[in-house]
């Protein structure tokens, strides 16, 4: 079975985001970019499936600017076999919407004849939490989102999902789309020899047009603003002082 893992290049999760003064967006010039943390988990899961003999090949795909090459190289260094970069933007500030990404990924699935997709649950830049579900709709496949445990069992996957009340286990027919939640696994670091080896692994470059997908956004960004900020209040010296303050405020 061939496993496809879509990986997104996003601002590193440790970077403090700054909104541009003109309200046109978030400043991404000269900030550290990394693989979306959920996608590292997805890549790790695919590698574990391959190690367990449940997958033969792992293809990682990124849609966006040329620089996403670095993200794909990271995935290859972790252990993916092959990469496809779909160039769909020149400006790092241009985000491709989940619907367009899903359409491109559908094109890749058709061309590659993939049997399973493991995506991240959510991209930590746009916080959409949508691409996997949209791809499942477009392929007509079943979906198992927010996975914390995956077990491939013949022609189905048994997936435990993190839901509002606790955990839900479902069985989804293959081919299917799974999206990875935080507790699915702990992703490995790429070793130096593997980083060197990854430079020689195949990385194919495509465009959105190769898949016949129009990436024109459906959502026009009118403006981007800073959220209402909170200021630090006061420090209290003791538990008694804390209780007194909260009583005074009517909070308890």
């Amino acid at each position: 079975m061939k496993v496809l893992v879509p990986v997104k290049r996003v601002i590193d999760y440790n970077v403090k985001v700054r909104v541009k003064a003109d309200g046109s967006g978030v400043d991404l010039a000269n900030v550290k970019m990394s693989m979306n943390p959920f996608d590292e988990i997805a890549v790790e899961e695919a590698i574990r499936l391959k190690e367990a003999g449940k997958a033969d090949e792992i293809v990682v795909v990124s849609v966006g600017v040329k620089q996403a090459q670095e993200t794909l190289r990271t995935a290859l260094a972790m252990g993916a076999d092959r990469a496809i970069l779909v160039v769909a933007a020149d400006d790092v500030h241009q985000d491709i919407e989940p619907l367009a990404v899903a359409k491109i990924l559908k094109g890749v699935i058709d061309a590659e004849d993939a049997g399973l997709v493991i995506a991240g649950k959510q991209a930590i830049d746009n916080d959409m939490n949508a691409t996997g579900q949209m791809l499942a709709a477009l392929t007509g496949w079943g979906q198992a989102t927010f996975a914390s445990e995956v077990e491939i069992d013949g022609d189905a996957a048994k997936v435990t999902r993190e839901v509002d009340g606790g955990l839900q286990t479902i069985s989804v027919k293959l081919p299917a789309i799974i999206t990875a939640d935080l507790r699915l696994n702990e992703p490995r670091y790429a070793s130096l020899p593997n980083i060197m080896k990854a430079k020689k692994k195949p990385l194919e470059e495509k465009t959105a047009a190769d898949y016949g997908v129009d990436t024109t956004p459906r959502l026009e960004v009118v403006k981007t603003t800073e959220p209402a900020s909170r200021t630090a209040g006061e420090m209290v010296e003791s538990v008694d002082a804390l209780i007194a303050k909260l009583k005074e405020k009517g909070a308890i």
Partner: protein, 306 residues
């Protein structure tokens, strides 16, 4: 303009609070029809929410576990009459609505925090470090709304309840089991007070300190990702960018450093209290009241004195 609102059904009953909050958002968009993919008793409950014009009930075993594929097909089969399809931003709706949107060839708008007009919405991005205003050019708008920013619609409605036929079974997935943590405590997303514990608690046993304080205050219990990852607390208690977003009257963060991903889930709380032994902890920058103390001294004392 007509709005189709997917009711939140959990454990076979209507999740009233989440649904009623979405109704408030829905009313700003038009005439609200609530769809209950679940038992008819849940439909009767939904009919009582103030501002609901009509309730559609699809009571079929196919929908008993909220599987995304059949529920999405049901919504799409009804979508023709509506310009907006909305739901509260629950784990269930976040699983279903993007699928619906793609089936309709439109974008989804996740976690909407404000409705500017019928096509223009505000939503947080980058863990709430920026707020984006976006205008949709799609004919239909599919959105989930953040329950922490909309007040629940009251009761007193008496909408007509119609039944709708189930759509065909796509037979793509099936339910195996639920592991739901039963608790007598208030629910995280609707509680007035939340006591949240982090890595500072050090173990699952010690996490009982958080529960003890919560019980004293009749509060819900929350946790940081580190506390959940370490097994001190179950996953459904995680507050943050990728967990639950809460805005109680009082949020008490204990042994939590205040990473941006955690702040994303609680910084709209009315009063924030932080208890941490490190005076440099970033959580103090958003706290109304900060106490620098060892939690193993402070929490038992606080619990006792309340």
């Amino acid at each position: 303009m007509a709005v189709l609102l997917l009711a939140e059904v959990s454990g076979g009953a209507l999740a009233l609070d989440a649904t009623a909050k979405a109704v408030t958002a829905g009313k700003a968009l038009g005439d609200v029809t609530v769809l209950v993919a679940g038992p008819s008793a849940a439909g009767d409950e939904a009919a009582k929410i103030d501002g609901v014009s009509k309730v559609l009930v699809a009571d079929d075993a196919l929908y008993a576990n909220g599987l995304a594929e059949p529920v999405s097909d049901l919504i799409v089969s009804l979508a023709g009459d509506y310009e907006h399809i909305i739901a509260p931003s629950t784990a269930s709706a976040k699983n279903i609505l993007p699928r619906v949107a793609a089936l309709l060839d439109v974008m989804v708008l996740s976690d909407v925090t404000a409705i500017v007009d019928g096509a223009t919405f505000e939503r947080p991005i980058y863990a709430g470090n920026a707020i984006q205003t976006v205008k949709s050019s799609d004919a239909k708008k599919v959105l989930t709304v953040r329950t922490s920013t909309f007040d629940a619609a009251g009761e007193g409605g008496s909408a007509a309840v119609d039944t709708v036929a189930a759509a065909a079974d796509p037979a793509l997935s099936s339910h195996v089991e639920d592991k739901v943590a039963a608790s007598d405590r208030p629910e995280l997303t609707s509680a007035g007070i939340i006591v949240s514990g982090g890595r500072g608690l050090g173990s699952e046993e010690n996490f009982a300190l958080i529960e003890g304080l919560a019980d004293k205050l009749n509060a819900a219990v929350g946790a940081s990702r580190a506390a959940v990852d370490s097994g001190y607390a179950p996953n459904d208690l995680q507050v943050g960018q990728t967990g639950k977003v809460v805005a109680p009257d009082l949020y008490i963060a204990v042994g939590i450093s205040g990473a941006i991903q955690h702040l994303a889930g609680m910084k709209d709380s009315k009063i924030i209290v932080a208890i941490n032994k490190d005076e440099e902890a970033p959580i103090f920058q958003v706290a109304d009241y900060g106490l620098v103390a060892d939690l193993f001294d402070a929490i038992p004392e606080l619990t006792e004195k309340l």
